[in-house]
Amino acid sequence: MATMTIGTKTLALDADGNLANMNDWNEEVARELAVQEGITELTPQHWAVINFMRQVFAKEGDAPSIRRLTKESGVDTKTLYQLFPKGPAKKAAKIAGLPKPKGCI
């Protein structure tokens, strides 16, 4: 199984490269995951999205889609793509320490 090292701790990753154990997550881990995704600095807007994703996941067991992020997080689609280039839902979920959104088969 793949792992990532942060400080002296080794954290397990799942097949998609997301944290295997959500409890390993903290803000420092988030910043490290963000760097791996090419995001060097997490701004308050990034954190608003990340926290929203964690809230939804805690309640519903799956991360929200981009469409729902746009509708409910207060950040529009265009900005979401600027904050998390390529795939906002996938990327934000990873940085938020959540598994890849199930989306659909």
Binding site: R67, R68, Y81, C104, I105
Partner: protein
Amino acid sequence: MRHLLILGGGTGGTIMANKLAAALDEQEWQITIVDATEQHYYQPGFLLVPFGTYRIRDIVKPRRQYLPRRVNVIISGIDHIDAEKKSVTLANKAVLKYDYMIIATGADIHPEQIEGLMDEEWGRSKFDFYSPKGANRLAQFFKTWQGGKLVLNIAEMPIKCPVAPLEFLFLADSYFTKRGMRDKVELQLVTPLSGAFTKPTSSRVLGEFLERKGISVVPDFNIARVDSKEKKIVSWDENEVSYDVLVSIPTNMGDAAIQRSGLGNELNFIPTDKETLLAEELKDVFVLGDATNLPSSKAGSVVHFQSEVLFQNFLEHIDGRPPVAHFDGHSNCFIESGFDKGMLIDFNYKTEPLPGEFPLPGVGPFTLLGESRINHYGKLMFRWVYWNLLLRGMELPIEAEMSMAGKRV
């Protein structure tokens, strides 16, 4: 007298009406089904219309012909559901009360969700094939097309029949080859997914197929708008892909009545227990097929497998017992791969599509995640199975629960 109301007379609603009409006592139960139109389309057939294999008249039948005589059929749109009062208000303002309800209102394409898609070029250089009109227009267009770059774009997931876009490209490759103009046609898949398909093994195998057939893939592309003048599609992060012909799989959404009733998610799909098929927040309501928010494929085979689970759980539920049957996410899809061949994939929530053989008594084995002629004939044969066995709720020689028999892990 207890009243069962079924919303939607498509694949799921029709199967349930047939199964339950046979199981529920006529003296005790009244069954009503509501649908907006008189025509029942064999939706898997849309894919074959652009290439002239089927005409629209080959894939449409009168809806009532497939519903049992004892069922009260109402042709009307639905205004909204009032789950508190256990009633449904129709478009004509009539109010139907229910004791139990099955929602099978399906999903449909929404091209208006994509900026710039539905302008004066819609139906000229930009098409869909998920509607009778769209599939037909594309068939007419292909007849005289001289070639160029055909881009197939998936707007966002989930979509009905997630393999249909790939099949469309495989069939286009075959069709233009047979017409002797494949060298004049460039085929490209532009998808929000990271590869050809979602799950690793099938994504790799199907990706190799695309490559072998000279079909290129632009992954991770999330469409923001279409620029008809420049003939290009633009993503949210400002990447551009040019086209001569755009075949769009627009955003798929559940029925607008679900939104008006405040019952769905951001795409109007209804939160549903993924194993029992009971609506999560509504009393005495089951949800079936494309109308659900389940992480299973939106496809006819899935509806068929779900209908067996729903049938068992419905009979338990009306007697006040907890549900006994559990849906495992089973999906079984023939994939047309062109040149009279096809593939088959069989999977569920936990097991991704794997290669191997799919045993089917009397007919099979079919080839899993590989090409064969029998798979293609399986797909063509399925139209007959759909009208004559599946819709009527008859037993098919394939289990609702996925089996590992024949699969290579």
